[in-house]
Symmetry: C2
Subunit: 297 residues, 2 copies
Amino acid sequence: MIDDYLNSRTTEINHNLRNYMTLLPDYIPERLKEAMEYSLFAGGKRLRPIFLLEFAKAFGENIERCIPLACAIEMIHTYSLVHDDLPAMDNDDYRRGKLTNHKVYGEDMAILAGDALLNYAFEIMINAGLSLSGQEQIHYLKAVNEITKAAGPSGMIAGQVADIANCNEDGRKETLDFINTYKTGSLLKASILAGPIAQGASQETIDELSQYSEKIGQAFQIVDDILDVIGDQQKIGKKIHSDEKNNKKTYVDLYGIEKSKEIVDGLIQEAFTHLRKCNVDNQNIVDLTNFVCKREY
Amino acid sequence: MIDDYLNSRTTEINHNLRNYMTLLPDYIPERLKEAMEYSLFAGGKRLRPIFLLEFAKAFGENIERCIPLACAIEMIHTYSLVHDDLPAMDNDDYRRGKLTNHKVYGEDMAILAGDALLNYAFEIMINAGLSLSGQEQIHYLKAVNEITKAAGPSGMIAGQVADIANCNEDGRKETLDFINTYKTGSLLKASILAGPIAQGASQETIDELSQYSEKIGQAFQIVDDILDVIGDQQKIGKKIHSDEKNNKKTYVDLYGIEKSKEIVDGLIQEAFTHLRKCNVDNQNIVDLTNFVCKREY
């Protein structure tokens, strides 16, 4: 059921992403476009754009306006993976069952393809904003602002830097929470908030959704850590035990598998409490929320 | 004379850049902030923000509005240098007489510091746009759009990819012009256009300034190539003969030093012709234009 839903949304998002790639001018070196597309269409779950469009639908009528935001957030996510996989970073050869970007195109091109995806994400968002006006433009810009902040040094990059440092340190809960909050949490939170913000949702709603998304973000990362220990390599599409190999401490090291699962369940319950306060009745969101903590990939 | 002018503008821009760096939240890992600042304050000429603010002044009254654009463009320029210097790219140990970012902070941090500078540039531009409204916001967004496009896969990155490919190829004039147009030219062009666009300059003016900036961009890059052969290493702050070492073909290979200098003079004359059509009477712009082709660093 959830798989059918996810598949149909993924198809829709892939269609829009492909469309944006065809809008790039012809003079761009073919190899750059190829390297960007290689990682963009390497079989990602598209969870961030799915969240974005689902919350956009639940909190307004202007879904079309949120499509560039959804595509941009997937490009930002992809850029971060391409750079993360580099030899100087996590040095991963496989991602989602396929060779990583730098293994196929070389390190120089992988750096530039990542840069290009990040830049193009902003290009798409800003360009789409030009066709709006008045209050609509202001709401939309606020959503772009949310995404931009989440991607930058106050968001995802702060988490990545802390993650690198954690490789050689004892993992304290505070450090792990910092990494989870920023490295994974920031962009997921922006995915959840951007749609409602772009459509002028009230501050009360945004506050509840912020709380909701923080719980989901934490749960999402802990599930990732659990899957890295007990997951099915085939389903996940990358080697498990990478945290151990890279000497990365996680919740599993601190609490063990069973207790970590309990923590995830608790977080999901808290998330639902905040969601209910928004008076939103949307089964897809409930399913998505559950999927985050029950997923096997 | 021009040196005094450049120094005073550089001081002003550095002040604003420092200000933006202090606005980053305290929780950001200190080492990330340090790595960003290391390259941002490594003694750049600040030509792009100087161009931006000078053209903003010549074509409008709202200079304040253009300061975030000027700072953002310098951050984008710096990010591109940090990534360009990486071992997988140009593999440079020195830049502006100082060790390159990755030599000081390691490759992983240099990749992330570059990413952070690029992200933060967008954050600054978008955040500043939130305080505007109506027609002013639309003009401002158009300027942000110009900068974003120039930095991305249709601009600077297209040029960088072509530049990498050129390392192992015979340099044809068409290839060199493509690289010069995008790698150096795009961001310089955006620096010149952003101020007038942000203040609602007419399409005729923007068209003439586009022509002007294309000539300046080409001249700028050819001077760079000449300096790489006959420049004073001390003044430039990096090793000369790097193009030869990296097997990069330039205008100097195609035409020799003297003919290349003549080409630069011709481009500058053409640039002035377009500038005059804008009816702008600004000695600083004339001096800046001349500086681009007469500079020794």
